[in-house]
Structures are given as structure tokens and as C-alpha cells.
Symmetry: C2
Subunit: 172 residues, 2 copies
DNA sequence: CAATCTGATTGCATTTTGCAATCAGTTGCA
DNA sequence: TGCAACTGATTGCAAAATGCAATCAGATTG
């Protein structure tokens, strides 16, 4: 791991981690999209990342301690990528970035509904979501009562409802 | 302004604005360092930005609507850069970024004291700071009672105290 | 009137990026 | 058994971004 830094400023160091056009996109797809495999990240990406860039960034994120990689028992060549606690605690940053983008940038209705929900839920919802991610990626015990819909399920349902609304509006 | 976007996702669009190694550094120096002139940003930057990159990013940030430029009455060649409301509302993102970096990255004591204060102050302190920035950059009326120390003064005082502590520790 | 300061711009070598093509090993299916 | 499809990548190459040094012209200072 490269230990040369431009300065010890926290914002600068954070920028040295995310100051590119792809790293956060990959983490977004893992956190909100639940993607764990190379192909899922490659083909599922709305923005169309190239495979060499994806490979490079996955490697880099592992070196930085944001991801870990493990063999998938179902397929000898398949690897499963997991978020570390370091990556899971990015949820508040993602939420703030989404909230800011929703206000100031030309976001699309369907894609911003999740950001809106996350913003309205505030820190308590973020915490619940992070707990779910700790369960999925780190094997931590679930803290919510069984039967409770997960945050990701709620975000996904809201997204699908928005897509359905849009489809109805255009066909009607 | 380029209107081609990779997707309408708020996180992606935010990344299209800040997804580089310098834009947020410049905004950080303007927000927390109070810098308003080209030379201040060029020479005051800890990270050592090159003048052509600075010129390019200032132009880009103006096109994106994060900065405005005006003549400085004191010097016919001097330009004063001002933050727009769009840029001022980045304060919560900066605070979260600083908080995350403080936990996970090799930050230096002196440079992270401000992030710590901002984190501890939470949203109320962020709001006060944003009001001060609106006053400085947009000419909005001050909301705090006269005589109250400004947030930037408090951050600066804490920074200088940390530097002094460090100097004492090394000379003692 | 010379030195310095202002906000840049230019040229150039190096590095990073993005795209297309390709790779070898694994699996599913006929 | 054989072959196509799928796995996580790697390679070559052109284009773009970056960083550095030098330079610029106008404004101000001494």
C-alpha cells in the first residue's frame, strides 16, 4: 500500500480514497444494489464501467481495506467481495451526497427516490441499514426483530413503485 | 456546460462534480481557510496544487455553479471568488468526510482537530457555520448575536492550540 | 522606472483512463 | 466426450488528465 500522502488533512485523505470517478460507484452498487460478484458489478452498473477499471478498483479498494475477497463455494472461479466495517460506515456520506445531489443536480425521479427515503429516515435509518450490511457482509447477528422488512427491501420497493408510476404515466 | 451524464443517480451526479483530486480541496480551502484569491489558493494549499490545475478547476466550478467571480475593488487585477449557496451546502458533506477520515485514515493531529470540533458540534454548528458563509460570500445578514465568536474563529483557535501543543511537545 | 505582485496561459513529459479484444480455467448441457 | 457459455480478470493502445517549469501582460509598489 502506498503510504505517501499529500497531507494529513482528513478531507484530503478521504479524497485520496474516493477522489476518482469509479470507486464510490462500485461501493454504491455493493451497498445499495447488494452486488457481490465481478460480473454483477460489471453488467449491473448503470454507468457502464469497463472491466479493467473494475478489476483495478476492486484491487485498490482491497488494498485500502474497504473490501475483502473470498472464494464462492458454488463456483471454483467465482469470488465474493465483502464490505468491511470501514466501507459500511460510508453510509452517512452516501446519504449526504445523495441528499445534496437531489437538491442541486439533474437527478432522475426513479433513481433519487432511494436517496430521498434515506434522507427522510435520517441517522436512525442509516444505523439500521449499516446493521443489515454488517449481517450480510461480516456475519454479525441481526438486531431487528424477525419479520421486519429490511432497509434495502424498503428502498427497492420504493424504487420499483417509482418505475411503475413512470411507466404508467408514459403509457396512459 | 456539458449536459452529458453517465446516469441520473444522485450519487453518480455528485461524483461527476467532485470525482477528482482537486475540486473539493479548493472548496475546503475556501470554506475553512477563508481563501478568496487565486494566489491564496495557490500558495496556501497544503497539497501543492499547480497553477494550471487551479485555473482549470476554478473555471469548472464556476461553470457548475459552485463559485462566482467578481472584481476586487482594491486591485484592478485581483479577482474575488465567492461560494454560492450550492457550495455552502457542502458543509455537511465536508463534516462527514472529515469524520470518516478521522476514524479510518492516518490523519495528523493538528489537521484533524477542526474535523473533530465540527463533528462534535453536529448539525447545529454546521448551520451556524453555513450562515456565516452566507454572510461572507452572499452578503446575507448575520443571525448570531454580535460579539459571538464565529465558527471559523473557533476552528482556527483550536487548530493553533494543537500546533502550539505539538511544538511544545517536541521542544520540551 | 525597476521590482514585485496579480491571475492566469503555454509547452511538454509523465501518468491515468477508457475501450476493445483477449485470456485460461470452470461449468452446464447435449 | 465435446463444446458453448460463463468466471474473473489481463493486455494493448489511443486519448485524456496531470504536474512541472517557464512565461505572460497589466497593475502596483518602492
Amino acid at each position: 500500500m502506498n503510504t505517501e500522502h499529500r497531507s494529513g488533512c482528513p478531507i484530503n485523505l478521504s479524497l485520496e480514497v474516493f477522489g476518482d470517478r469509479w470507486s464510490l460507484i462500485i461501493l454504491r452498487d455493493m451497498i445499495f444494489g447488494g452486488r457481490r460478484h465481478f460480473r454483477e458489478l460489471l453488467n449491473g452498473s448503470l454507468e457502464g464501467i469497463a472491466s479493467n477499471i473494475l478489476a483495478d478498483r476492486l484491487k485498490r479498494l482491497m488494498e485500502l481495506g474497504l473490501l475483502t475477497k473470498a472464494d464462492d463455494p458454488s463456483h471454483k472461479q467465482k469470488a465474493i467481495y465483502s464490505l468491511t466495517e470501514m466501507a459500511i460506515t460510508l453510509v452517512p456520506i452516501m446519504a449526504q451526497l445523495g441528499a445534496w445531489g437531489r437538491v442541486w443536480l439533474p437527478v432522475s425521479e426513479e433513481l433519487s427516490i432511494r436517496a430521498e427515503l434515506l434522507e427522510k429516515g435520517g441517522p436512525p435509518l442509516w444505523e439500521q441499514f449499516m446493521d443489515e450490511l454488517r449481517h450480510e457482509h461480516l456475519g454479525a447477528p441481526v438486531k431487528t426483530p424477525p419479520g421486519t422488512p429490511t432497509v434495502r427491501q424498503k428502498l427497492q420497493a420504493a424504487y420499483e413503485a417509482a418505475v411503475a408510476r413512470k411507466a404508467e404515466a408514459t403509457t396512459a
